[in-house]
């Protein structure tokens, strides 16, 4: 063997050795990785097992502590397991007693429940099913049931359900509906009654006014100045009486929610009011910020602003009168303000003025109902009303309306 050949073989051997060493190294690394993976797998497996145990005990807790009755039954309705609430609801003496849920369904609801059961089997769940049962103690109850099928390897094996006794809730609900209906009817009647009373009260006033006028006409040159003045006082009194009756009618209808709520653009409403209301030349009304749109009854919201603005105008005693309307957003409500530079209201009257028939200034145009109407409307819109005032400087009424 030539030296060259030996060298060549030795180099080949060295290469092979190196390659093998490399392969061994790789193998060793792989084995380490594999070991590590196995370790991880074992760890996560034990974690999973722990988790499963934990969930099971948690479920057990839920099962025992749940307020509602919880029942597991086979597909024939035989009870397999139930919690204490279920034992109580269904009238058993303890959880180990045997029973069939289907046998407890009230005869009148059998058809209904059969349909529900069919749905349960086909859909896998039923929710909000209400029917009557007769408990072991022979007590009729209305129950609310949510149920689902339990599957084992894709095959339905049992059903579980949450049962709630709604007998009382249901009777309360019926009672509430009846009461509401009654309330609506008596509201309606009251409204009609108010209209009739107001008609009957106003008729004599019209007659008196006509009679007074005829006496005046028929005795044109015979009446002295004092008599004529007294006649004019009668007429003023009649006007006031008529105003009172109208206001009482408005007050009594404010509480009745007859109209559907709509979106009311208060900005448009107030600028309309500015043209309708009598505003003397020396008084100016300004709206500081654009007013929002809110949900409410337009007629009532108009009454609200109209009463406050005309009140503000009425009690201005300065040469230059200012009425300022403003709004602020406070989250759930809008807070409005109507500010004037009028005569002001002493603090001791701040509560009293919202009560009916508490006019502070006895005058032809004050019936003492305006602000109580305002308060009622604000109440209807879940708001509040209050005022700040300095006598001789002016008053600001604040009120909130729910958005």
């Amino acid at each position: 063997m030539s030296q060259d050949k030996i060298d060549m073989l030795q180099r080949a051997l060295a290469r092979e050795k190196a390659a093998r060493k490399q392969a061994e190294k790789i193998l060793e690394n792989k084995a380490a990785e594999l070991y590590e993976a196995k370790q991880k797998l074992e760890k996560s497996y034990s974690e999973l097992e722990a988790l499963l145990n934990k969930t099971d005990s948690q479920l057990q807790g839920v099962f025992e502590n749940i307020v509602d009755a919880y029942v597991i039954m086979d597909l024939m309705g035989n009870i397999l397991k139930m919690n204490d609430a279920a034992v109580g609801l269904l009238g058993f003496s303890d959880a180990s007693e045997n029973g069939n849920l289907m046998d407890m369904v009230h005869p009148t609801d059998l058809k209904l429940v059969a349909g529900t059961f069919k749905n349960l089997l086909f859909e896998g769940t039923v929710t909000d099913s209400n029917f009557k049962i007769v408990t072991k103690q022979k007590i009729e109850k209305l129950v609310h049931v949510n149920a689902s099928i339990i599957y084992d390897e894709g095959k339905p094996v049992a059903a579980q359900g949450i049962v709630r006794d709604i007998t009382e809730i249901n009777s309360l609900q019926i009672q509430k509906e009846r009461l509401l209906e009654k309330l609506e009817k008596s509201n309606d009647e009251l409204q009609e009654y108010a209209h009739i009373v107001s008609h009957d009260l106003k008729s004599p006033l019209r007659s008196i006014d006509a009679l007074v006028n005829w006496i005046k006409e028929d005795n044109k040159d015979k009446l002295d100045e004092i008599s004529l003045h007294n006649f004019s006082l009668i007429e003023t009194t009649l006007e006031k009486m008529e105003q009172l009756i109208s206001d009482v009618l408005v007050y009594s209808s404010v509480g009745v929610e007859t109209l559907e709520k709509e979106t009311v653009d208060l900005d448009a409403l107030v600028s309309d009011l500015k043209t309708i209301l009598f505003v003397p030349d020396h008084v100016s009304i300004s709206v500081i910020q654009p007013l929002p749109k809110i949900e409410g009854e337009k007629v009532k919201l108009q009454q609200l602003f109209q009463n406050l603005i005309s009140n503000a105008i009425k009690f201005i005693d300065k040469e230059v009168g200012l009425v300022e309307i403003d709004v602020k957003d406070n989250g759930t409500h809008y807070q409005f303000s109507v500010k004037d530079n009028g005569i002001g209201i002493e603090e001791k009257f701040h509560e009293k003025i919202f009560k009916i028939f508490h006019a502070l200034n006895k005058s032809k145009h004050s019936t003492g109902i305006g602000l109580s109407i305002v308060k009622k409307i604000v109440d209807l819109h879940q708001g509040q009303i209050w005022l700040e005032s300095i006598p001789n400087l002016g008053t600001t009424f604040f009120f909130t309306l729910k958005k």
Binding site: E192, H195, I196, S198, H199, D200, K202, S203, L205, R206, S207, D209, A210, L211, V212, N213, W214, E235, L238, E239, E242
Partner: protein
């Protein structure tokens, strides 16, 4: 201008006096026939050769009230053509809508003040006296 035959259906004596006095005060040539309630009015309307040109109808009346009367009137093939104007104190929207639904020629609120009443009646009768009405 037409001379109107007016049937006034009104239970309040002073209201009847008011219309009469208003017409004489305004020196209007119209004739007024009075009925105290719906029942009486139906009797008046039985004379088919003396039917009124217009009817002024109060709503709140005993026995047959205004709306009941209106219903009967509008179901009658002859009487339904007589323009009927409601003259009432009731500004109840429910009454107003019901009247327009059945069919009325106007809805006038009785004002408190006598002079306002005179002015309303003057306009009302002025309007109807220039209208063409069904010949009997």
């Amino acid at each position: 201008m037409n001379i109107l035959n007016i049937l006034l259906i009104e239970d309040d004596m002073i209201e009847v006096m008011k219309l009469n006095r208003t017409i004489s005060k305004l020196e209007l040539p119209h004739n007024i026939v009075e009925a105290n309630n719906g029942e009486e009015a139906l009797k008046v309307l039985q004379k088919k050769d003396e039917l009124p040109d217009i009817i002024l109808l109060d709503l709140n009346m005993p026995k047959l009230n205004g709306i009941e009367f209106l219903n009967i009137l509008k179901k009658d093939d002859v009487l339904k053509y007589i323009p009927t104007i409601i003259l009432t104190t009731s500004n109840n929207q429910r009454d107003l809508l019901e009247c327009y639904r059945i069919g009325i020629a106007g809805y006038v609120l009785k004002p408190l003040k006598y002079e306002d009443y005179v002015s309303k009646i003057e306009k009302l009768l002025g309007y109807w006296s220039i209208n063409e009405l069904k010949q009997i």
